[in-house]
């Protein structure tokens, strides 16, 4: 029988539709995996933002991946039982964001302030001489910044509690 560990491993191949370097596992949005029988698996997910329009699509991607792995009975549900926060991104997730040109979210300790966002590290040159242009960006989870050193605009993944 397939193990939970194998399922987690298999799900690492499912990428965020907007950030193709980042897997859903590394992002921390898969909150539970349960093997319920010979070929039956239950997966619980939680969205980064309540209004994330990609969540339905991601549920489908997870289900498709499990079917590829030979699981015939797949149940994927989205809940707020264990809500996502940006500290749930793992180390590899943070690296993937950077590689994609997105500033990783600053680690927070339960509180997000404007100051935390003001000098986000530039993903291109590493400078902290940056400013936030807008707390909103092309998707709900991103903000827009400008680097005063390498003179490039960049996006950041928002810290969220």
């Amino acid at each position: 029988m397939i193990t939970e560990q194998e399922i987690w491993k298999g799900l690492e191949l499912v990428k965020d539709p907007e950030i193709p370097t980042l897997s859903m596992v590394d992002m921390g949005i898969i909150t539970k995996v349960e093997v319920r029988g010979e070929s039956s698996v239950f997966v619980e997910m939680t969205p980064t933002f309540t209004g994330c329009p990609a969540i339905k699509m991601m549920e489908g991607m997870v289900a498709d991946r499990l079917k590829e792995m030979g699981i015939t009975q797949v149940e994927v549900v989205t809940t707020f039982d264990k809500p996502w926060d940006s500290n749930k991104l793992n180390e590899r997730g943070l690296m993937c964001l950077k590689k994609h040109g997105l500033a990783p979210p600053v680690k927070h300790s339960g509180e997000v302030t404007m100051e935390l966002l003001e000098h986000t590290e530039c993903p291109f040159c590493g400078s902290k001489n940056t400013e936030m242009k807008s707390p909103f960006g092309p998707t709900l989870c991103r903000s827009m910044h400008y680097c005063n050193d390498c003179l490039q605009a960049f996006e950041g993944f928002k810290p969220v509690v």
């Binding site: 933002f49 309540t50 209004g51 329009p53 707020f80 807008s134 909103f136 092309p138 709900l140 969220v160």
Partner: protein, 251 residues
């Protein structure tokens, strides 16, 4: 737990979010600068998503599917405050409404994060983190424009004067207020209004704007019991137009 009381609370919050979300979306493509266009569009998306999460809680309590509830009622069946249905007006009014509404909403969800009704508390804990960004955005512009030049200050002060009594209408009490409080579901509108005043006052002071004198406070109530301005009908018609054409359409 008193389900009727919980439903009343959920309906008014979900309707506020849905209607303000729709108004915010009207700035898409028309924002004064690109970043602002994106900001209002993002907030629209957030709010409509948040309303959907609350409609889902209502569905779990026996109400119809979220889409059905959102798109098949007529204006009289909406429980949003009149404040959120007012047209966007100029950008000054939109920003002022955004500030007054979002601070209230953030405080509301902070209070609800400790609600004894656990399904709501879970959603509230999520939403309050998202609303932080809405309030950051609002605070920045209120302070910036309140003290930029004569014209911007005058416009923001006028917007505040125009918005004020409608904003007070957000705190209209419902018939289940006592039950919600005694069962620990929600600490109540009066408590929320008190916190709201304490939170907006320092920001408005920093923006050199003046809250209208208390003698002139006349809250625009009625929205919670289905009494609306003439602006809600056309909004609901537009919002539900596509759904009504083909309720079973796959997106």
């Amino acid at each position: 737990m008193n389900t009727t009381a919980i439903k009343e609370l959920l309906y008014k919050m979900a309707d506020d979010l849905l209607i303000i979300g729709h108004r915010n979306s009207e700035w898409t493509g028309l924002g004064p600068i690109l970043e602002e266009d994106i900001a209002f569009s993002s907030m629209a998306q957030d709010k409509i998503g948040q309303s959907q999460a609350l409609f889902q809680l209502l569905h779990e309590l026996g109400e119809q599917e979220p889409d059905t509830v959102a798109f098949t009622r007529n204006a009289k069946q909406f429980h949003n405050a009149q404040f959120v249905e007012l047209p966007n007006g100029d950008y000054d009014f939109s920003l002022m409404r955004h500030f007054l509404y979002d601070v209230a909403d953030q405080l509301r969800f902070e209070m609800l994060a400790n609600s004894s009704y656990e399904p709501l508390a879970k959603v509230a804990r999520k939403i309050k983190g998202e609303l932080k960004y809405h309030v950051f955005h609002a605070n920045t512009w209120i302070v910036k424009l309140g003290s930029a030049n004569e014209e911007s200050k005058a416009r923001m002060q006028n917007a505040l004067n125009d918005a004020w009594n409608y904003a007070l209408g957000l705190f209209e009490e419902g018939e289940y207020e006592t039950i919600l409080k005694s069962e620990g579901i929600f600490a109540g509108e009066a408590d929320l209004q008190h916190r709201w005043l304490e939170t907006i006052t320092p920001t408005l002071t920093k923006a050199t704007l003046t809250i209208p004198h208390e003698n002139a406070w006349e809250p625009k109530f009625g929205g919670r019991i289905g009494i609306h301005t003439e602006h809600l009908d056309p909004l609901v018609d537009e919002m539900s137009e596509v759904f009504r054409v083909d309720p079973n359409a796959e997106w």
